[in-house]
């Protein structure tokens, strides 16, 4: 009691409910109006069939059954989900691994650290739509400088319609996405590495650990919380992706639907969906919410347990 009082009247244990309400109230209201209410609305909308903008009949889970039985949505649902999974796995493997590698390299350098951090994070400032159109132009098989450069050095066989063939479209998407967002893991891992007590690293070095050993035995376990945060954020980002894929491949998901993802499927249901577009797309939105929210919570739990 004495101790907390000595710290001052704003110690966390003593802030009154009124003050908490005062400061969090406005944000809570906005959050409710802009997030909770739409989610709830989508859930209710999804229980009806619609005629344009007029609710027609209560169908319970009928719209959900439609999504899983009506051709071609039933097939697209599976392939879109699979592409989201591949996108997540690819992003974890490429963006976050390279991001971690760069963070470790920058952690050990003194000169130029800031410059490189800024450079790698610059694409953050661009809208994914702009990034998408930019890369679509760079990769254009007819005008694109990338293929022209490949031809100029004699690699004609590699001058491919990168975004035009199913085998390369998704990998290229993963690389472009990684190019844009690699600054995220770089900065978060960098901060986590900077937070490791120097004496731990020194103790390891004194014991003669190689830098490889030092990384796996000392640094990596210490940055596990950051790994957890990055994994969950990457998951949410990868399963909600829309703008970049739309810019690179249009609303049908690129060549033969090879980049189709849940976000695009939702877009098509909502905006090219016909008379019951609101019913179909609301059901789809609820499914996506349940998937992303559920897995994100599960991932959080799992990673927390491993940290402990």
């Amino acid at each position: 009691m004495m101790r907390t009082r000595a710290r001052g009247r704003y110690s966390p244990e003593h802030v009154s409910f009124g003050w908490i309400a005062l400061f969090s109230g406005p944000a809570l209201v906005l959050y409710t109006v802009l997030v909770i209410v739409p989610i709830f609305t989508a859930f209710v909308y999804g229980l009806f069939t619609w005629k344009g903008t007029t609710p027609d009949a209560f169908v319970g889970l009928g719209n959900y059954v439609e999504l899983f039985t009506r051709y071609p949505v039933n097939e697209q649902l599976g392939s879109a989900l699979w592409h989201n999974v591949l996108f997540f796995v690819g992003t974890m493997a490429i963006q976050n691994t390279i991001g971690l590698g760069l963070a470790v390299l920058l952690h050990r350098t003194r000169r130029g650290k800031r410059v490189f951090q800024t450079l790698y994070s610059t694409p953050y400032l661009l809208s994914p739509l702009i990034v998408g159109y930019l890369w679509a132009m760079l990769l254009s098989p007819t005008f694109g400088p990338i293929n022209e450069a490949l031809r100029a050095v004699g690699l004609d066989a590699l001058a491919l319609p990168w975004l035009g063939q199913p085998s390369t479209a998704l990998p290229v998407l993963i690389l472009i996405n990684a190019w844009q967002w690699i600054g995220g893991p770089l900065l978060i891992f960098g901060a986590a590495l900077g937070g490791i007590p120097a004496e731990l690293e020194e103790a390891g070095q004194l014991d003669g650990a190689s830098s490889w050993r030092l990384f796996w035995a000392v640094r990596f376990p210490m940055i596990m919380p950051a790994v957890g945060v990055i994994t969950v954020l990457t998951f949410i980002g990868c399963f909600n992706i829309f703008d970049l894929v739309y810019a690179l491949g249009g609303s049908n998901g690129g060549p033969s639907g090879s980049m189709d993802v849940l976000g695009l499927l939702y877009y098509r249901l909502a905006f090219d969906g016909g008379t019951n577009a609101i019913g179909d797309s609301s059901a789809m939105a609820v499914l996506m919410f349940i998937l992303v929210f559920g897995v994100a919570i599960a991932l959080e739990r799992l990673l927390r347990r491993r940290e402990a």
Partner: protein, 425 residues
């Protein structure tokens, strides 16, 4: 304790004011809405044409003293959403530009539009296939006065054809040997858009109409006596893909913009597409001399010209100025409006008796009038979900990339529409 009270009260007050602010936002009226009865508000998606529409409407205003017609354009891509809400309310449009065929159906189903069959007498002179573009599928009533027709052609670069001494082909074989000659000269004969999949059904229609048999085959399909999976239609898809030899290197990656640029820069000799491209091409390269032709039927049976209705003008049921609005759409069905429309906007008017002043447009109109052919996937099998146009766009994408053959692509379209399509009785 009193401190706690004060803070709670402050929080409550803030909460209430935020709620009020948030509640205000959606009810703010849309631009151009007003309750003045002498103003007819027309909503549309053509921002680039707003000034021209105002000019066209002057003639109506002059004939109706005291009446003002105001064209309020919205962003093309957001228009459908804005319109579906706007039609619910008297503060919305009196007259609205409506999409055609399948995209019109949600508005008809919501009961937001006035049926015009008994209101606009001049509609009786329009051809039935044109009125199909503004018809409700469920009740067969006409809900708009069609304002534009788009026709589909092979648009070509006259300079390239002249230089090689090539005439406009009159048979399929002449067309193929023309492409061969152009290819031998080092120019891409025919640049097709591939990655923007909405163009694929257009290309199939341009090169396939003569193979499946145009309108008579459509009639059979609507009666349930023919389908996408029958030989004529599957062959029409093969007829289109047989031209792939002329599409240029790495055509799998060609986007809509790429194709346009290749054509206007003279690197490609021909571009299969809609008549609306003329404006784009002339803007991109004013020196380009353009010509149009259509793919002749391989069996010599004719030269079908595919076309479809681009949109119509309808009257909102929620309008509090319905009489004036009806008078305006009645005027839109007359040659006065049609001629002004085609002259000012360089588009094809569906109003009977209107001739475009632009020679190429006039050529397109004559060709379409001589042998009209439907745009089947977009116009006639898009009234349900999934629509044939979406199905064709995605299955043709797989087809062009050699993942499936024409029969499988047709099978996917048929499988999709079989879920909702019932033949007319």
């Amino acid at each position: 304790m009193s401190k706690f009270r004060k803070a709670t009260l402050a929080a409550a007050a803030l909460t209430v004011s935020t709620l009020v602010l948030a509640g205000c936002a959606p009810s703010a009226g849309p631009a151009g809405a007003d309750g003045d009865d002498s103003t007819i508000t027309v909503w549309g998606w053509r921002q680039e044409d707003a000034k021209t529409y105002d000019k066209i409407f002057t003639a109506f205003e002059d004939a109706h003293p005291g009446v003002t017609v105001e064209y309020v354009p919205y962003l093309n891509t957001e228009y459908d959403t804005i319109l579906s809400t706007g039609l619910k309310d008297a503060s919305g449009p009196d007259v609205a530009q409506l999409r055609s065929y399948g995209l019109l159906q949600p508005l008809v189903e919501s009961g937001d539009l006035v049926a015009l069959d008994d209101e606009v007498a001049d509609l009786a002179d329009f051809s039935p296939s044109v009125l199909d573009g503004a018809r409700g599928v469920s009740d067969g009533a006409v809900y708009g006065v069609p304002f534009a027709i788009q026709t589909l052609h092979v648009i070509y670069n006259k300079a390239v054809f002249d230089e090689l001494g090539i005439e406009e082909p009159t048979t399929w074989d002449e067309m193929i040997s023309a492409f061969d000659e152009i290819k031998a000269s080092g120019i891409t004969p025919l640049v097709n858009t591939v990655t923007d999949t909405w163009m694929l059904p257009i290309e199939q229609e341009i090169f396939g109409a003569g193979t499946y048999g145009a309108t008579p085959y459509l009639e059979k399909m609507l009666d349930g006596e023919a389908s996408f999976t029958d030989a004529p239609w599957v062959d029409s898809v093969d007829a289109w893909t047989s031209t792939r030899a002329y599409w240029g290197d790495a055509y799998q990656g060609t986007s809509y913009e790429d194709a346009q640029a290749l054509f206007t820069s003279g690197k490609a000799a021909a571009f299969p597409g809609g008549i609306w491209e003329l404006a784009n091409f002339r803007k991109a390269n004013p020196d380009l001399e353009l010509g149009i032709f259509n793919a002749p039927a391989p069996d010599g049976s004719g030269v079908p010209v595919p076309g479809y209705v681009d949109g119509s003008f309808g009257v909102s049921n929620a309008s509090d100025n319905k009489d004036a609005a009806l008078e305006l759409v009645q005027w839109m069905a007359t040659a006065d409006f049609g001629q002004a429309f085609t002259d000012e906007l360089a588009q094809i008017s569906p109003v009977p008796g209107v001739t475009p002043s632009d020679p190429l447009l006039a050529e397109a109109v004559d060709a379409y009038a001589a042998e009209p052919s439907p745009y089947i996937t977009y116009a006639y099998f898009s009234g349900g979900t999934p629509g044939a146009w979406d199905l064709a766009s995605s299955s043709f994408s797989s087809l062009i990339l050699d993942e499936i053959d024409a029969a499988a692509a047709a099978g996917k379209i048929q499988q999709g529409i079989d879920q909702w399509f019932t033949p007319r009785s």
